[in-house]
Each structure stands twice: as C-alpha cells, then as structure tokens.
Amino acid sequence: MKDGGSPMNEHIFHRLYDDYHSDVFHFLIYMLKDRATAEDLSHEVYIRAIKAYERFENKSSEKTWLFAIAKNVAIDHFRKQKVRSQYAFDFFDWESEQLIGIDKSPEEISIGNEENVQLYRALDECSGDQKVVIILRFIQQLSIAETAKVLEWSDSKVKTTQHRAIKQLKLLMAQNESEAKLG
C-alpha cells in the first residue's frame, strides 16, 4: 500500500461532491425510497466514479456520466435484491422489471399529501424503464437529451417511454381513485 492517499482521487471526490452530490442523492432516494440504502449506494457511486474517472472521455457531460453510474448502481442493487429474495433464474431486465423500493417511504416523501404518496407508489408499479425515465425527466428535471445520454438511449426512446409512463401513471391513479370510491 502506498503511503498517503492519492491527491488526484481526493480532488475528483471533492469536485463531484460539490457539483453533483445533492442531485445524485436525490435521484437515488427516489429510486430506492430508503435513506440508508441511498446513502450506501451514493458511496458506491463515488467508488465507481473515481475508479472509472480516467475513462470518462468527455463524450457526455460529467453530470450525465455520473447519473449513468448512479443508475447502474441502483439497477445492480435491484438485481441483487431480486436474486436473493425471489431466486430469479433469468436475466434481470431492468427495463421490463418493476423496480420496487421499500414500502415505507422516507419521511420527506410522505410529508406530502396522501395523493402524492399514491403517485410514488404507482411509480413503483410501472416498468423499470418507465420509472427511471420519470425520475430523471420530472423529479431530476433532466432534458430529453440528458436523459438519453444517461440511459444510452435515443431521444425518441426517451420520449416514447416517458409518454407511456405518464399514461400508465394516469391509469394507475384512476384505478386508485375508483378503488377508493368503492372502498
């Protein structure tokens, strides 16, 4: 082991933290809906980012590059969770799978009115690709182009997925309302 740390790695950390930590944490907590897990995964994001930094080729912005890492870290988490809890033999296809966070949302999310909480629950019922697009586009407020970069998709795929996701959320919320009226 070398004496002392790597100033370069420390510099990378400080800059990534200052510029993006808040956004990346925000993204993770809406993906996972669990503060402790989001904290662990944000740690993993830094590890991967620092290790891979020299491969960052400025083909995309640093922000979309970091979000892409955060997305992969979150998907890996869901993949492992599924393998362990349900014993999945097949590939974990995050785009078609549901990415369901824990049932109890962080307090900050639940503080909103009950209908908004239902909206976040409905988001869990969407497919993985729809959930990620919704979080990136509306909660993180990335542009179509930025979202496409993060997901390595075409702009048109982002638009189509976003459109379907909103339709799906509308349908799910309508169902919730119907059930509430019947109940």
């Binding site: 082991m1 070398k2 740390g5 790597s6 370069m8 790695n9 420390e10 950390f13 400080h14 933290y17 930590h21 808040s22 944490f25 925000h26 907590i29 809406y30 503060r35 989001a38 904290e39 944000s42 740690h43 830094y46 590890i47 620092i50 290790k51 891979a52 930094y53 020299e54 491969r55 993949r79 492992k80 393998v83 362990r84 809890s85 349900q86 014993y87 033999f89 097949d90 590939f91 974990f92 962080p106 900050e108 999310i109 503080i111 909103g112 209908e115 908004n116 909206l119 919704i134 509306f138 909660i139 407020q141 909103i166 339709k167 959320l169 509308k170 919320m173 309508a174 309302e177």
Partner: protein
C-alpha cells in the same frame, strides 16, 4: 374529487414538485468513509493507448479474518504444511484449503506502480526471473498442479459429474468429478445411464461433511425425467422451505447439479399437485436451470473446514461478459470474496468465442502466491466459460504453468471445483 384530478399535466406537475430530499451526512463523513475503504489509496491508471480497453484496478476490501495471527499461521504453514504437501504430492485437491488461507497473509505483492504501459521485453524478463522460475518449476513437478477446474484436455473416457453442495455459509457450490467409464459400466452393467440415474449412484457416495458442506444429498423425494425436463416430487415436510435461504440453497443445488443436462425442473408435491413455497408462492411453472453457461462470474467462497471454492456470487447474472468481468472486483457481501489480486490491472477483449485477458504489466505468476494466482486465473476462465467462451491470457511472463499453455487459448472448462473421484469412492 373530480375525474380530472390526475390528468397527465397534473401528474407531471406533481412529480416536478416532488420534495427535495437532502443527504443529512456531512461531506466530511462521506469522505472519511471512502477514505476508510481505501478508495484514495489507489492511483488511477493513466496514459492508456487509444482504443485500449480500460484496465480494471483491483481494490479488495481488507479481510478481518486475516490479521496478525494470520501471519503467525502463515509462518507455521511454511514450516510445517508446505513440506508435508511436497511429500504427499496431493496439492491438486487441497490447493484451496488450509495452506491457501494461511498463505494469504504472506501475499506480499510487489505493488507495482500503475503509471504507464511499458514495452515488454520477454527475454529480459525471463532471464531475470530464471532462477526463481526454475526453482518453482522444480517444486511443481513434485507438488502437482493447482488447477481446480476440470478442463477438456484432461478428460479421457470419463464422464463429468457435477453436483451442487450446500453449506450454512453460502449458497450451493458446484463441485465436479471425473467418473471413469469403467466405473459406470460396472455400476450400470454396461448400459449408459441418464444423468439422473448417475446422480442416484454418485450422490450418496459424496461425504459432504468432509468437504466442509452440510449433509444435503441425495435430494428428498423423487425425480422423474421428461426429455429435458426434470420433475421433482417433494414429500410433505420437505426441508427446502424453511426460509428464503433454504429455498435459495435448494434452487441453487438443483441448478448446479442438473443444469448441464436438463433445461428446467418442475417441482411438485408428492401427489402431483403444484407446490407452494412460503417465500415464492405457488410454483406452477417449471424453473429454468442453466449449467456452467449461466452468465455469471466467479468468486472465492470459504466453507467449513477452511476450504475454499470458486462459486458464483449468489448466482448474479450479467447481460454481457464485460459486465461480468468488471464485477469480478466487487465484493458485494461478506460471503463471496474477489479472486482478483490487488494491484494487478488488466483489460479484456471480447472476441467471437474467446475472451482475451491482457495484463497491463507483464504478470509473473511466480512473484505471487501461486494458489492466489490460480484462483484469479480460474475465476476469469470460469467467468468466460459462463458465457460459453474460452480464455486467452496476454502478457503473462511464463508460457507454461500448471498445465496451462499461455501462448494459446486455454482449453474449454467442463466442470468447477474438481474433487478426486478415487477419494470419494473409498
């Protein structure tokens, strides 16, 4: 509430107004945690050639079990165990066992600087290492080889039998045996058995306890073959539904044992009705199983008796071989340890049927603990095999080592964690 409450526009606005959630930890706390993980101890590799796949820098977590005591144990191992190994000439089946864990403490890697890809002079390197290599080769002649997997080039008139063994420490771990044709002919009176029939004869012979596993086989209940489908009829009060871990072990053992020979397993109650597992619900569809080509990567797992095996990490699948190799360094839990050697950087190239693993700096197998080297190499070979590919290593100083010819593509893998059939048969 009117019907327009959740129109598309309202949904978009509600999402855009989502509460902003802040991380309550300080920057200093996060920095300290990363520092403790050693992330700032690694230099980043620079000056890569254009188009060169990025090297993977290995940074393994510190392992608590190998402490200062381990150093003393390692000294003991050098003084006592190594001579015994040389005398007994039995390194093959015990390479990953006691000596292995002890020698980890002696894993004094040379911590090369990863600054630039150097031009590599084979003759110069070989000359400088000649004395050491000769000594190691001489030792090898006595101590057999450290290979633990079964390769195509070593199988003659034998059938590969693989079985998933179970332990408290980990999920099912596959082990393989070469069953001589003469044994099969004698046992089945000249009729070639199906794999299920072979399982019925071999499984009871395996002393799982002696290998550091739980007494698990043969499976409870009975099986039926329908072409590539296996049906497992489970009795009432079977032991495979005691919790998520026991289900996981059961499914893993089924896959490891039968995955090379059958495509799926239908699990039923003894009376033929669909079975229900407490954590999975009713299983009315057969479970797909893969054999060695399960698109996973390999880690080291220790079972009881301090034995070490190569195994997938909770069967985590990857879409591509590149992803699987990248994740070889990631220790996502305390059970499966990365087999990669610290500070050995490499890149991979995914060719048609071969994964080419290029070490960034000339890699001298004799400068490391050889058991460690074998674990790393076989973890890579098995990971490639998991995607149906063979492996070629580039930039290894030696051209021959432990039965491997590094100048060419390594032979196809047929089985993982070989056990000596003769010792089982006794």
């Amino acid at each position: 509430m009117n019907d327009n409450k959740w129109g598309e526009l309202e949904i978009e606005k509600a999402l855009q107004n989502s509460p902003k959630i802040q991380d309550t930890r300080s920057k200093e706390d996060i920095f300290k945690r990363l520092q403790q993980e050693g992330i700032f101890d690694e230099e980043i590799v620079t000056a890569l050639e254009p188009q060169t796949p990025a090297p993977i820098i290995i940074e393994k977590k510190k392992r608590n079990i190998y402490s200062k005591i381990g150093y003393l144990v390692a000294l003991f191992a050098l003084i006592i165990i190594v001579p015994l190994l040389l005398i007994n000439n039995k390194a093959n089946d015990s390479a990953g066992e006691a000596v292995n864990s002890s020698q980890e403490a002696l894993d004094i890697s040379d911590m090369r600087e990863s600054e630039e890809i150097e031009s590599f002079s084979t003759s110069e390197e070989e000359n400088s290492m000649e004395g050491k290599a000769e000594l190691s080769r001489a030792t090898m002649e006595i101590s057999n080889d450290f290979r633990t997997a079964l390769y195509e080039d070593e199988v003659v008139d034998e059938t590969i039998f693989t079985i998933g063994l179970s332990s408290d420490a980990a999920e099912s771990v596959p082990v393989s045996l070469k069953i001589p044709q003469s044994f099969i002919e004698e046992a089945f009176e000249g009729v070639q058995p199906t794999y299920l029939q072979l399982y019925g004869v071999i499984a009871p012979l395996i002393k799982e306890d002696d290998l550091g596993f739980s007494d698990y086989h043969p499976f409870k209940g009975h099986f039926e073959e329908q072409g590539m489908r296996l049906i497992h009829y489970l009795p009432v009060n079977h032991p495979y539904d005691l919790g998520s871990a026991s289900i996981s072990n059961y499914m893993g053992a089924l896959e490891d044992t039968f995955g090379n020979h059958y495509e799926e397993v239908l699990i039923l109650n003894e009376n033929g009705s669909p079975i229900e597992f407490s954590h999975l619900g009713i299983l009315d569809e057969p479970v797909k199983i893969s054999g060695i080509e399960m698109k996973a990567n390999y880690f080291i797992v220790e079972t009881g008796e301090e034995r070490r095996y190569l195994s997938t990490n909770f069967r985590t699948r990857y879409a591509t071989v590149e992803e699987a190799f990248s994740a070889l360094a990631v220790e996502s839990n305390d059970i499966y340890q990365s087999a990669l050697i610290k500070d050995v950087a490499f890149s991979i190239e995914n060719r048609d049927t071969v994964v080419a693993v290029s070490f960034e700096l000339p890699f001298d197998v004799y400068e490391q603990d050889e058991v460690r080297v074998m674990e790393m190499i076989e973890a890579m070979v098995l990971t490639a095999a998991s995607f149906g590919k063979q492996t070629q290593f580039i930039n290894i100083v030696q051209s021959n080592w432990n039965g491997f010819e590094f100048d060419t593509v390594l032979p196809r893998v047929l089985g993982v964690n070989e056990l000596d059939f003769e010792s089982i048969e006794k």
